[in-house]
Amino acid sequence: MRLASLVHLASLNLRSDRRGTILNTAAACVGAAALVFFVALGMGVGQAARLLFPGDARLIEVVPGAVSLGAALGGGALDDGAVERLRELPGVQGAWRRLSLRVPIAASRAPEGVRMNWPPGFTVQVPVVGVDAGLVASDLQPGRRFDDPPAGEPIPVLASRRLLEVYNKTIAPAWNLRRLPAGIDLVGLQIPVQVGFSIIPLKTEEKVYDARLALAGLSDRVPLYSLAVPVETVRRLHREYGKSDAGYSSVVLELARPDDVPSAAAAVRRMGFAVDEGERAIAERVGLAITVVAGALALLALLMTALAALAIAQSLSASVRARTRDIAILQSLGATAGDVRALVLAEAALVGLAGGVLGVLIAWLAARGVDAAALRFLPDFPFRPTTFFQFPPWLFALGVGVSASAALLGALAPAALAARIDPARAIS
């Protein structure tokens, strides 16, 4: 039997049983809609979480151990020797130093190059951390340098990519400051600061002088509420203010593959250092929670699809029994057992395809509705996504494919039943 003939006859049969066709299509539609909706939701929320916690799965942050018996027994300060030893660990591609600045820096004037309504007398303490250029090299704007500048030159800094969002959604509303426009190019912005000045009483250094920070780029490898400067700048400032450098605050290890993380972390601990799970652990826990919830919902949707397949199986079995004589007539006209089996399967496939297409459409519309409701009713918190869903093209194919496959699976038994009909007995 040719495909065109098969589709023609299957369509006629489905049209003749409108009620059954509508019910079966609805069953397939519900399963496909639920599956596509929940998978899209899981992917969308996962994407939103990645924006909120953009941890690089290949990075681990090494910090001095909480308890140390001295370098002789391992651990101790994270000095240059320790950095070299960490760099030699298997799987480590880079070891990048971080050193927190212990000299206070404060900004009491608006950055230059951007229109802001800086309140009079408003001073912001600027947390600063020194980092190796290698850690943020890929985030530097072309032509920008990230090394300790000569005296009087602006100090290059990098800010967290998320700072603008946090500023616009929390800092600006709280302090009545003007929000910065979305997509603004902040690179090159210069911030006038006072080195040595602290807003905390008795913490201001004896020597206070004016300097400028120049934004050289934005990076996910910079802590959210800090500015990153070259580690050499921090060491210079520490020397200027007589601060001792007993060791680095932390060392970031960049590994070849995420799979290397557990073994590298274990090796770090054996050396007597600790691993700061911090944001990475939160990101992993959030990611795991999203994966588990999305997986459970997708499983529920698959269960609904399986139930749809059962409903289709039951409905088609009843339909085949009711059409025993009709099927026998087709056999008397030349239909083979294979033709009869194919006909029942084709009817199921058409129902599954129609249900799948309808289900995908409903899922997409429902997602748009949820997004619209979220936009209207949820507060404008930082990193609030514009959509909670992701619909890659393969997801549409998955919805239709799973629906059609489930319908076909449900039709296997009824198709076999139909193919076993004895035409002579059924007609007489």
């Binding site: 003939s5 023609h8 007539i329 006209l333 030349g334 239909a335 083979t336 294979g338 035409p423 002579a424």
Partner: protein, 224 residues
């Protein structure tokens, strides 16, 4: 055209075995109009099902339209039913949900491999021609429920003619028809015989057997 030799067909009714056809022999020449008459339950329909390749569970030898039916596989028997024979039943056996033209098209949808399969459009044209031949072109879009008994039987005949079979097997074709409709059906059979089709009718109606060139009596599973 039809050659049945030593056909024996039994049914099992619980513990009891019922012999319906007993060592039956039948020869029908090509282009003949033959009627088999007999009382209800005499095995007339079973005889047709054997000759038409619908029933393969029998003893003996059946050669119809040059095909040895015992030697055919189930798939080949289906092709034989599609190409070589046409069936007409007492209860019309039209699919109730399909309009007359779609019912008439049905055999064309099952064209076996090796037989040129027409497109759906070509098939519709051929079905309309077949309906025109039985005088029902104007009722092609009607469902069987909206046709009279005689019209339904003419649709069934149009369907049987679609594949231009060599043999037409009719099982009580006028059993549910009034005198006028029955006469029209008999006239159609006679016209088909003139066109070279071999017609084998089983009936218990005198008006049908009177139109046939040869009448055989089926009694106790044997033809006399």
């Amino acid at each position: 055209m039809i050659s049945l030799r030593h056909i024996t067909k039994c049914f099992r009714d619980g513990e009891r075995e019922v012999v319906v056809l007993r060592d039956l022999d039948l020869d029908v020449a090509a282009g003949a109009f033959t009627a088999v008459v007999g009382p209800s339950g005499s095995g007339k329909s079973t005889l047709l099902y054997v000759a038409g390749g619908l029933d393969a569970d029998y003893e003996g030898e059946a050669v119809v339209a040059g095909r040895d039916l015992r030697a055919l596989s189930a798939r080949e028997r289906a092709a034989f039913r599609n190409v070589s024979v046409g069936f007409v039943f007492q209860s019309f056996n039209l699919l109730p949900a399909l309009p007359a033209v779609e019912n008439t098209m049905l055999p064309g949808l099952f064209a076996p491999p090796g037989v040129p399969a027409p497109s759906i459009g070509q098939l519709r044209i051929r079905a309309m021609e077949a309906l025109d031949r039985v005088g029902l072109a104007d009722k092609a879009s009607r469902l069987p429920a909206h046709l009279s008994g005689g019209e339904r039987q003419r649709v069934a005949i149009a369907r049987a003619l679609l594949s231009r079979p060599a043999v037409l097997l009719a099982d009580e074709p006028t059993g549910n028809l009034d005198a006028v409709s029955g006469e029209a059906v008999i006239q159609l059979f006679s016209a088909m015989v003139r066109d070279g089709v071999t017609v084998l009718v089983v009936t218990h109606e005198e008006r049908v057997s009177a139109a046939a060139g040869r009448v055989l009596h089926l009694e106790e599973g044997r033809l006399r």
